[in-house]
Amino acid sequence: MNVHVRIGDNRIFALKQAVLVYQEGNRAFATLHEVKSRPDGPSYLCAGQSVTTGFLETLAKGLGASMAAEVLPENVLARTPALIAWWSPAQARLMFFGDSDPKTRHLNGKMYPHPALVFMIHGRELFVRALRENRRPKSNTRLMNAPYWNTDAEGRVCLGSMRVPEEVSASSLRGWEEAYFASEFTHPSGAVRLTSHRGGFVGLWSSLVERKHFPVRFLADSKRTLEEFLQSAVKD
C-alpha cells in the first residue's frame, strides 16, 4: 500500500524519475529513467526510454502551458496560456472613490464618461491602459496611461480586495472589467502621470461628472505601443 502524508504544505517528495540529456554538438536527445530504491543500499537508475513528444507535452501541461480551445470574442487582442488582453470601447461607467480623501468624497457613486481601454491579465495580475481613439488598436497603436488611481506606471492595478473572477478565460473578461469598476479608487499608485488635466486626477474627474464624452486630450502618454505593452508583461 502506498502511504502519503499531505498536511498543510508539508510534503515529502520522493525521487521517482531522472532525465538524462545526451549531447553532441548542437544535437541532443534525452532518456527518462525510473529510480528504484533498495532497503539495504542506494537507489539506482533503471534502463531508460527515449523522451517522447508526449512526455514533453505532459511536462508542458504541468507547467501550465495548456489551455482549453475557446472561441475568442472580437474584442480580444492577444491570448497565450499566461496572458489575455482585450479592448473595451469608450462608454459611461459608474465610479466609486474611497472616502479617506475629502477631495474625492463628492465624486463617489456617479456616472462618468470613460475613454476606450485596453485590459490585460497576466497570471492573476490586471493591467489597464487607455486609447486615444475609440476603435480596436493595432500592434503599433500608442497607448495612454489609464486615468485611474490604484494603477502604477506599468499599468498594473493594485487589486486590494477587488472581487475578481476565479477564472481567466475569454468568457470571464466582462467579469474582470466589472470587478475593476465596482471597486473603489482609493489612492495614487507610485510616480505616474495619470492625466494632463491641469487640475490633476481630482480636477479631471470633477469636470466629468454626468458628461457624455471623455476628452482624450487629457490622457497622458504611456510611451509604449500595444505590442510593447504585451511584451513587457511576458518579460516580467
Binding site: 500500500m1 502506498n2 502511504v3 502519503h4 502524508v5 499531505r6 498536511i7 498543510g8 504544505d9 508539508n10 510534503r11 515529502i12 517528495f13 520522493a14 525521487l15 531522472a18 538524462l20 545526451y22 529510480v35 528504484k36 530504491s37 533498495r38 543500499g41 542506494p42 537507489s43 539506482y44 537508475l45 533503471c46
Partner: protein, 366 residues
C-alpha cells in the same frame, strides 16, 4: 568524459567492451583474484547506475503543528514506535509516514499488497487539490485504489455448487458484503445497473438496434439466484464439509466476515459532504467478474472511461480529531480492521481456483 560515460562506458580491464558496475557495486575481492581471472571467462559486469550520493527524497516543511500534535498522540497511545523517530531523521511528517507504514505492515500489509493496489493518505482535506480543508484540528485517513484488483468467480462458484446448491450465492453475497462494508466492489449488480441505464439512453433513439448492450444476465451463473444461507447456517454446513479445499474456502470466508465486522464505518459528516460536493461514486477497489472478458468486465471498462471526470468519493474516510486522543485511537483501530479485512480477502482470493494470475509483483520479489 561525462559522469554518465564513466558509469556506462566500456570497461578497461576486460578485452570485450562491457558495461562496468557502478561505483560501490563491484566486490573488491573479486577484482583481486588474478589467478581465477586467468582460468575463467571474463565476468559480465553489467550494473545499474547507482545514485549513492543523490538524496532519494526532499522534504518541504511549513506549519507542522497538526503533524506534531498527531505524532504526540500516536506515541502516547503506543501506536507509533520510538525507533521510527531516528529513522525519520527527526522529521515529524516522515515519522507519521513511517508510523502508518508500520501500522499497515502489522495488519496484513504484505497480504494486501499481493492483490490490492491502494493508496492511504493522511491529509487535512478530502480532495487533494482543493483549497477547502476540513475543520481546524481534524485530519483524515483516506483509502483509495490506485487500480482495481481482480477476482475471477466462475471456477469457485462451480466448485461450490457441487457441494451444495446454495453455496455459490451464499459464498459470493458474504464475500462481496464483507468487502463492501469498507471498499467498493464492482460486480454484476453494478453491470446490471449500467445496462439498465444504457437501455434507457437508447430507448428513444431511431436505430436503437445498432447499439450492442453487454449481456450481463447471460454471463451471470444461475446459481447466484439461489437462496443464501446466513453465517450460522454456513458455519454448520462447514462442519459437515470433508473436502479440505472446500473447507479452506468456507473457513476463509467466515474469517473475512468475522474481521470485517470488528469495526463500524465512521459517520459521513456534514463537513465531509461539503468538501465532496458534486463528486462521483467511489472508484472500485476490486472487480469481481465471472470470466476474464465477460460482460461485467466490459461494463467496468466502459465506466472507467468517465470515472475520473469528477472527483470520486474516497472508499474509506477515517476522521482523526486531534483534540480528542480517543478519536485518534479509534481511527487507527478502524484502519487496522480495514487492513485486516483486505488482507483476509487477499488470502481468500489466493484460495479461489483460477486466480493464480492477478498477483501484484513487487520490487525484489521477482
Amino acid at each position: 568524459m561525462s559522469g554518465t560515460a564513466n558509469v556506462l562506458g566500456a570497461g578497461g580491464e576486460g578485452r570485450r567492451a562491457m558495461l562496468t558496475v557502478a561505483s560501490g557495486e563491484t566486490p573488491l575481492a573479486a577484482r583481486r583474484i588474478f589467478a581465477a581471472d586467468k582460468l575463467m571467462a571474463a565476468p559480465c559486469g553489467i550494473g545499474l547506475p547507482s545514485l549513492a550520493n543523490v538524496p532519494p527524497e526532499q522534504r518541504f516543511s511549513a506549519d507542522d503543528r497538526e503533524v506534531i500534535a498527531l505524532a504526540e498522540i500516536l506515541v502516547k497511545s503506543d501506536i507509533a514506535a520510538a525507533e521510527d523517530w531516528s529513522k525519520s531523521e527527526r522529521d515529524a511528517t516522515k515519522y507519521l509516514l513511517l508510523s502508518l507504514e508500520r501500522r499497515i505492515r502489522m495488519h496484513g500489509g504484505s497480504a494486501i499488497d499481493r492483490r490490492f493496489d491502494l493508496d492511504l493518505t493522511l491529509s487535512d482535506r478530502l480532495v487533494d487539490y482543493s483549497d477547502e480543508r476540513g475543520p481546524e484540528g481534524t485530519l483524515y485517513l483516506v483509502l483509495d485504489p490506485e487500480s482495481a484488483a481482480f477476482v475471477l468467480l466462475s471456477p469457485t462458484l462451480e466448485l461450490l455448487e457441487n457441494v451444495h446448491p446454495y453455496l455459490p450465492a451464499t459464498f459470493y453475497s458474504h464475500f462481496a458484503g464483507a468487502l463492501n462494508r469498507w471498499v467498493r466492489v464492482y460486480d454484476y449488480h453494478d453491470a446490471e445497473e449500467r445496462v439498465e441505464m444504457l437501455r434507457e439512453w437508447y430507448e428513444g433513439e431511431e436505430n436503437a438496434d445498432q447499439y450492442e448492450i453487454p449481456d450481463v444476465e447471460g454471463c451471470t451463473p444461475k446459481s447466484l439466484k439461489e437462496t443464501r444461507l446466513n453465517l450460522c447456517e454456513l458455519k454448520k454446513l462447514n462442519e459437515e464439509v470433508r473436502d479440505p479445499r472446500m473447507k479452506a474456502l468456507i473457513t476463509g470466508l467466515l474469517e473475512l466476515c468475522r474481521i470485517s465486522k470488528q469495526a463500524t464505518r465512521p459517520e459521513f459528516t456534514e463537513d465531509m459532504g461539503e468538501q465532496l460536493m458534486d463528486s462521483n461514486p467511489a472508484l472500485p477497489c476490486l472487480l469481481a467478474a465471472f470470466s476474464s472478458g465477460d460482460a461485467v468486465v466490459g461494463c467496468f471498462d466502459d465506466e472507467a472511461q468517465t470515472a475520473m471526470e469528477v472527483t470520486p468519493q474516497p472508499n474509506v474516510i477515517i476522521p482523526l480529531r486531534l483534540s480528542d486522543g480517543k478519536s485518534v485511537r479509534d481511527g487507527f483501530r478502524t484502519l487496522a480492521v480495514v487492513c485486516e479485512t483486505l488482507a483476509a480477502a487477499s488470502r481468500l482470493i489466493d484460495l479461489m481456483p483460477g486466480n493464480e494470475e492477478g498477483v501484484i509483483t513487487h520490487e525484489g520479489e521477482r
